[in-house]
Symmetry: C5
Subunit: 319 residues, 5 copies
């Protein structure tokens, strides 16, 4: 699907892809959005815009890193956008490919992207975005993409608190799996945000001519948001490591408690059972068996032994 | 709540917000403090001072990182201030937003801040702060904010010593939780201080025109305090990791002790019990049972076995 | 084995090694490929091309790191190529040595290399590679070499998912060995890719005269692929560490379950066995033995004790 | 306590604090040492030398990091000196504050410092230090301070070897505590040395006018000693971590041995005891009991079972 | 022991130490090698060569780090050479001290050094080293020193494979000690190589006048070898950590197996023993004892209980 917006002298119109060349020649500002482009739609990139084959190849191959590449007439930008956003699963990430020059932005993406739709509607309905230039439109896209990461990161914070509370309640292999999944997702997110930051760094460099000095502040704001994301991700990653350590040490502690119970019971009972075994033997000549109070003395001795052992364990702090 | 201080020719007066524009035009030095500003009070930022909408937005959204941003007529500075300061809880951090130009400082913060009040009283009562310029006022604020971190960091040092002593006394899941909370807080603090240091770094750069050469020394002193904070936090974080390791290895050691006790008792008693079991069987034809000293020989054999085992354990160093 | 391609005015011909000097003097473009060169073939490097003895020595000694060295008339480049590519074994890596000048590439390698063959066939059949210069031929080699790493890295991703699923199913020392081997291979790969990246970095530097400005984009594309490899390798390495932790904590958990079962059974049964031991003693005077319901009372008491213990374990959450 | 050395034309004299101003005016070289200065002695810093209040404040507040600060007429240097030097305790560190100009050094420190005394005596008795300038005096102090760290670091090396030997001999919580204390001290030392290195780095910078080119070599030598300290500390820290791991794995190994002993004994004895239990039952109708060789057959069966189990354990490598 | 080589116009002669000054004045090229120099031989450094006292001091004090220092007429270089080279022991490292100018190299070392002897013989027998200048002689020394590290590093690689194979065979504290020693040695080596690399870096800097442009390639080759050493050491260090983890997890696994055996046996046998205990009691009134098939029913019940437990363990995957 292709959709195009053209802006000239305060007026925004949706145009047909066929009139793109004409509008470019008229120095109109253009946004051409290709969603799930067909092979013939992809051809516009090479035939109408004459983009470099390497960049078109990148659009067709998925799993690209965020980056900025400087071509003769345009910049080629790749940014990563969230697709699967459930904490209980592995994050799924998609790419948006942007061709940016002074007069147009061409966006290519596979699958419907809410962040693109949002900005598209904003740009279509109000002239104040195009008015401030293509760079301001680019800012709107970048801002929307980055702000889209915050809700999920906030959720991670809550999830960690939940897990922490769970640790002392139940004991299940699920806790470890949950922590592992969250760490996995934080690692994935960190790689993406790192690449994204490099993109913003490039955009903010002085030799990046497309962004006007007056609009640079807006890109700095996006950069600042990225830095905040980093802080969250780093802290959460470290917290998750800490949480796993806490859980493991809690398990260790419980095991210790279990072992102590076993040891106490066994070391108290076993000697007593030995005594009963001795007087359960069938030797003919066992003088104690025939004494009047042998049984009661034996019970008393067993009580004393048990009592002494309990005392010993108390001293050792095991009870 | 708004409060304003105006300084001109050695005289400090509290003024009404309505006269701010007049005072600015008269080249007076001004400090405008907005605590929990109402919507109409916030309007002063855009209407009177004409601050950039991005900066005003930052003031309204919380959880900002410390940073310095360079706008046309002013610098926008964010610094983090301690709010919740109890070691037993997660640290709570708030922000102070500063708009700084050659002639005024505007501070915005949510919630009453002791560090601001302290400097406000000092600036109001004695002319020697305003006299040395707006940059010296900024120094006073920065110094107060940073020095406010030291008491809590010192407390952490004491807490670690406490925990270390506790390790060999009792054994509870609390120790791990305590260490975990402290590590969490150290991580949080480190992030904040890192951002704060970047702020000071920016202020000390040569192109930062607002700070006069003669006052730079004071900002270097604040920077030095931040570096000391870093040293403490890093050391404490590493010590906490070490303390957890110590605790875990102590737990391991104890478990070892418990297991050895169990093993010694069981391996001594069980063979003896087996012997008593044998002579407790009811077979008709068991010649030993009818010998005169069978019982005593058996007791002696059991004693010898027990003794041999004890000897064996002594040799192995288990006893 | 030596094979040579010579290009001049749109025509590509396979030539004999004896005519190399002639072709060089005619300013033809040349690719000389030495596969498992014999001693006399190696001599071409020193006698015909006059390469520096240090570079020839490198060709003869294996296990070189990727690097670029700047000699007077040519660049000496080493790149690492995959040889053993099975995930179940340790990766085996070989080297390709490239001597690159404006007019020729000389490649030296030990063992048949598919990536070289692929490019050789491409260069031989179509003039469009030589046409764009020696640097474009170099790009084709570098691109082929780097892209050759992707399939194996993708496989690692699948393998990790497999291992993760295996963890909760069976318990074997193989899982650890598998993870260990994968980590080992990721470490090895990372070293190689790091060196490879340095090579690309050098090629992309402005003072690297052989690569024409118009072809630099292609080398940037290779660089980008290397960066993606890095992302994969780093993520996988960290995931493997996480997987091992998950496995170890799962083992810990199971051990805990085993110990609890033992403790529960032992602490319930042992006291009951003691009681049976007591009434199994052969003392003459044991009044309880002669009561009518002694046996049934004893059984009831044993039932109550067992029940109380089960209740206690339920409370402790062990059951 | 104040003591002053004044040097002029080859002559060194101890002077009274009252004549400092006079000597400075005469371009004499001066060393003023303040040990545990009283309030009135501290006044000399502000009244006679006119030092900046921020530097004087630093002298009064302890726990400063090593640093160099550039004031108009002088440099303010802080260095850390060892106080408590016993390996069995936490290291205690003190500060020496140095005010250095072309013509004088003022040193301030709390508590008697041997390293200062040593240099003071050397400077007093032989003119060859003052002769080479104030910077050579500064070198002597820095060299003495840094060299003072070596004996303790050497001791740590020996201590680690001791601990390593201890590991396989006895098993005590002390080993962990010892390692923990050493790691703690290494961490502390590392922080201090890092700051100290920054000081030397600053002194060696080309814009540091006080140090003459010919004396720079001496400061480079001090720098080299600091780098050697770093090497030792880093290596020892890593070794200590390794030692703890070794100890922990040794403990694990022992626990394993203990558990195996228990398991072997229990799994051999328990089935035999069960058999004796069966033939110890008092059922009327138990045909085996009345056979002539029932007892001996039972003993033989028990022997065979025990032997089979031992064989099984041998196979599993547990015995 | 002193030995001197003097080169002039294609001729190499061994000269007496007394003629050094004369040869230097004649612009001869010189190599003076001091092995275990006596006090009077050391004097040559100060009296004949006028070396700076700081450098001579370094020669006398051992345990120096590799470094390059720039003195007025010469460079002072320290490099580390292997002495103890057995993997089973801690590596022992010695130093070689080099004074290098345009016309001479003076080498000082304690203990006979094979690498020095090798180069000495080469330089003495063939003029082609001196011919290319003192810098080429320096290269020969550096190359020999660095190449001397490779055999031991290769051995480490084999040792790791050996240890890995051993892990699944026997279980001994030796494995941990072996890994620990290897890690220790890798750490030590890494420090040394790091310093060595800095030395090469300095030699390769453009302001290092002694090395002629044409010979720089040779030093780059040494640098490349150092980088390869780094790769090996880093990889081996990480592998050793991985090997230890593998061993520890293997131990864990075995412990788990041991515990499961114990638990299975105990939980099967103990209830059966309880039953035999019950029917071994001597109560007068125990109706079951007098039934005809009581004994056989009891045996059958015991069999059923055992079978049920085995089934349960199979289900839990413990068997
Ligand atoms: Mg960070
Ligand atoms: Mg981080
Ligand atoms: Mg972090
Ligand atoms: Mg991180
Ligand atoms: Mg962490
Ligand atoms: Mg971890
Ligand atoms: Mg750990
Ligand atoms: Mg630090
Ligand atoms: Mg740190
Ligand atoms: Mg640190
Ligand atoms: Mg740290
Ligand atoms: Mg640490
Ligand atoms: Mg640690
Ligand atoms: Mg990375
Ligand atoms: Mg990485
Ligand atoms: Mg990484
Ligand atoms: Mg990594
Ligand atoms: Mg990781
Ligand atoms: Mg780890
Ligand atoms: Mg280091
Ligand atoms: Mg280090
Ligand atoms: Mg280190
Ligand atoms: Mg370290
Ligand atoms: Mg380490
Ligand atoms: Mg570790
Ligand atoms: Mg490395
Ligand atoms: Mg490394
Ligand atoms: Mg590494
Ligand atoms: Mg490493
Ligand atoms: Mg590692
Ligand atoms: Mg570990």
């Amino acid at each position: 699907m292709i959709r195009c917006l053209s802006y000239s002298q305060g007026e925004i119109v949706s145009i047909s892809p066929n009139t793109i060349t004409e509008k470019i020649n008229n120095k109109n500002l253009l946004w051409v959005d290709l969603e799930n482009p067909t092979d013939s739609e992809i051809k516009i990139l090479s035939d109408v815009f004459k983009f470099h084959p390497l960049t078109i190849e990148d659009c067709l191959h998925r799993k690209q890193r965020s980056k900025v590449e400087n071509y003769k007439d345009y910049y080629f930008i790749v940014m990563n956008v969230f697709k699967g956003r459930k904490l209980e699963e592995e994050f799924r990430i998609s790419e948006i490919f942007l061709f940016v020059s002074q007069n147009y932005i061409v966006t290519v993406h596979w699958g419907n992207m809410e962040v693109v739709n949002t900005v598209y509607e904003k740009a279509k309905s109000a002239a104040n975005i195009f008015e401030r230039g293509i760079d301001f439109l680019l800012y709107n896209l970048a801002d929307e993409i980055i702000d889209d990461y915050f809700p999920i990161v906030d959720e991670v914070g809550n999830k960690i608190d939940e897990i922490e509370a769970e640790i002392f309640e139940k004991e299940s292999k699920e806790i470890q799996s949950k922590i592992f999944l969250l760490k996995k997702n934080m690692l994935k997110l960190r790689k993406i945000i790192t690449a994204q930051r490099e993109v913003l760094n490039t955009l903010l460099r002085h030799d990046f001519v497309i962004i006007k000095e007056e609009n640079k502040l807006y890109f700095m704001d996006v950069y600042d948001h990225i830095m905040r994301l980093f802080d969250f991700i780093d802290t959460y990653y470290d917290l998750l490591t800490g949480t796993l350590d806490l859980y493991m040490s809690y398990i260790s502690n419980r095991m210790n408690g279990v072992m102590k119970t076993l040891t106490i019971i066994a070391t108290i009972i076993m000697p007593l059972t030995l005594i009963t075994g001795i007087y359960g033997m069938n030797f003919k000549n066992m003088p104690e068996l025939n004494t009047e109070y042998g049984y009661f003395v034996t019970l008393a001795v067993m009580g004393i032994i048990a009592f002494a052992e309990i005392l010993y364990f108390k001293r050792k702090g095991w009870w």
